[in-house]
């Protein structure tokens, strides 16, 4: 009954099978965790990249200043 509440009406005539749904619930959970980790990992990567970029930019600016001299 719970599944019927969750699944749109047109799907309700088909027995989805507890086994298949539970497997997908796990896949859903795992992929959500992987998704979250990926998201945070990218944020971390972006943070360091940004720092590196700033450093590089600063170095480039330094070079430019040197050239000017």
């Amino acid at each position: 009954m719970l599944l019927i509440c969750q699944i749109p009406l047109a799907l309700a005539y088909l027995d989805p099978g507890t086994g298949s749904l539970f497997l997908q619930a796990i896949i859903g959970g795992v992929s959500a965790v992987i998704g979250a980790i990926t998201l945070y990992w990218q944020k971390i990567k972006r943070f360091f990249k940004k720092e590196k970029k700033v450093e590089k930019l600063a170095a480039n600016e330094g070079n430019y200043q040197d050239d000017k001299k």
Binding site: L11, L23, Q24, A25
Partner: protein
């Protein structure tokens, strides 16, 4: 108006026929689903790709017997011959499986999904699959599960695995179960080491384990888990694409000793006889111009090809050798022929099946009323299956009003071989008797004695 007896499960509408044309009645829910499909842009794309049967709205007032709940009627393209998954050889089932996955993946691009995974919703025109149920589509809802996964496994994946992993064609088991083959059945047939195969674990072992563990317990935990988690669109797509990659690699384990696989090359008659046979079939087809021809004992489709080159619109072939049928599918696909090779043991053809024995039509109901060719099969029915010749002739003539039957005499090398280790108790099997039996039921329009190997072709017209 004849309501299709297999169309009763769908809460959104039903299929009916009138004067040979196919229609679909839509109720409120069905009309909404159809409009969603149209508005998503998917309907037009699927029609363009010829992946979905054509459908157009038609004035519903012309059908007087429709109930008030019918809000609209669609006229559908007619499929020349309805076949069922348990009649498909491996090559066709694999095509249908990949086609289902392709449609599902494509639909998600339009924010639509398939609400079931019934193999009966796929039909073939030649060896090309087409989806026939417009009400299987509905709006994709964020986080939804793939509810058709279990059905997909039972109706598509598991029969394929039986052939590719165990070299067993599961068509008879499929026919017996109709709704597909259970995971439990496959698991009990598989060696233990398949538990270590990742896709097997994912789609067969784990779901079966969870099913058994939680189905009866009504556990609040599992309900919570299913309710709490969602399947992201990426994960949904990942499942479909992963299955596609896996299934693309599945191939049938070839039988080393298939008797019929090389029949077209290693048969017992010479090139001249082959040409005579081809000419006879060509003349028969050009004179009768059948829209649909049934080739009983079609082998790899050599004579189906001859018939199509003459003037035949479509050929449906039947054979009981799976390896040969896979070759026939390959040929049909390669040459893009309207030739559909199907599995059937003619002495045990598909009966009417399913709910009230009306859900799926049997062989005779679907085959009746067209032309046939039955080349070199009656000696097998007589000698291998012990069917009296009178019954064989009556059966063939009852199936098709006109056709070609090849009679293979006892002096033929193949008959000599068949009779070499057994007593000849088939006194009714002789050419004189065959002609007499045929003449009782039909006119012999033409006859050709082949130059070699004691074979004669008969073109008959039912009385």
């Amino acid at each position: 108006m004849i309501r299709n007896s297999g169309s009763f499960r769908d809460p959104s509408g039903f299929v009916f026929s009138e004067q040979g044309k196919i229609y679909r009645a839509l109720n409120d829910q069905g009309l909404n689903q159809y409009n969603d499909l149209k508005e998503s842009g998917l309907l037009a794309k699927l029609h363009h790709k010829k992946w979905l049967v054509d459908s157009t709205f038609i004035d519903k007032s012309q059908f007087k017997l429709l109930a008030n709940e019918t809000k609209a009627v669609l006229a559908h393209q007619t499929i020349p011959f309805i076949s069922y998954p348990f009649e498909w050889p491996f090559a066709l089932l694999k095509k249908a499986t990949l086609f289902y996955l392709d449609i599902s993946i494509y639909a998600l691009q339009f924010n639509m999904s398939l609400n079931d995974a019934s193999a009966y919703n796929i039909q073939f025109i030649g060896a090309k699959p087409i989806y026939i149920d417009v009400l299987s589509f509905q709006k994709y809802q964020k986080g939804q599960y793939w509810t058709g996964h279990k059905q997909f496994c039972e109706q598509f994946l598991i029969p394929l695995l039986f052939k590719s992993k165990l070299n067993l064609s599961a068509n008879a088991i499929y026919r017996g179960n109709l709704e597909g083959i259970s995971r439990e059945f496959l698991i009990k047939s598989l060696p233990f080491f398949y538990r270590f195969s990742w896709p097997m674990l994912m789609h067969i072992y784990l779901p079966e384990y969870f099913q058994k563990k939680y189905a009866k317990k009504e556990s609040q935990l599992i309900k919570k888990q299913i309710k709490k988690n969602q399947l992201s669109k990426d994960a949904y797509l990942g499942m479909l694409k992963g299955l596609k990659r896996w299934i693309e690699k599945l191939s049938p384990t070839k039988s080393k000793h298939s008797l019929w696989l090389n029949y077209e090359i290693n048969n017992s008659y010479d090139e001249i006889s082959k040409k005579e046979k081809q000419q006879f079939i060509t003349t028969f087809i050009q004179s009768t111009k059948p829209k649909l021809l049934f080739d009983l004992g079609c082998n790899q489709g050599q004579y189906a090809n001859v018939a199509l080159n003459a003037d035949c619109k479509m050929v449906v072939g039947f054979d009981n050798c799976f390896d040969t049928l896979d070759k026939a599918v390959e040929m049909s696909e390669k040459k893009a022929l309207p030739f559909l090779p199907l599995y059937s043991d003619l002495t045990n053809p598909s009966p009417n099946l399913g709910w009230q024995e009306k859900e799926r039509d049997g062989f005779h109901k679907r085959v009746n009323g067209n032309a046939l060719i039955a080349l070199a099969i009656i000696h097998h029915l007589r000698l291998s299956k012990n069917i009296p010749l009178a019954q064989i002739v009556a059966w063939l003539v009852s199936i098709a009003p006109y056709g070609v039957i090849e009679f293979v005499g006892k002096k033929s090398s193949v008959m000599e071989k068949m009779l070499s280790f057994r007593e000849d108790v088939f006194s009714d099997y002789n050419q004189t008797n065959f002609e007499k039996l045929l003449k009782n039921l039909a006119t012999i329009k033409n006859k050709c004695i082949l130059s070699s190997d004691d074979r004669t072709l008969y073109w008959y017209q039912r009385l």
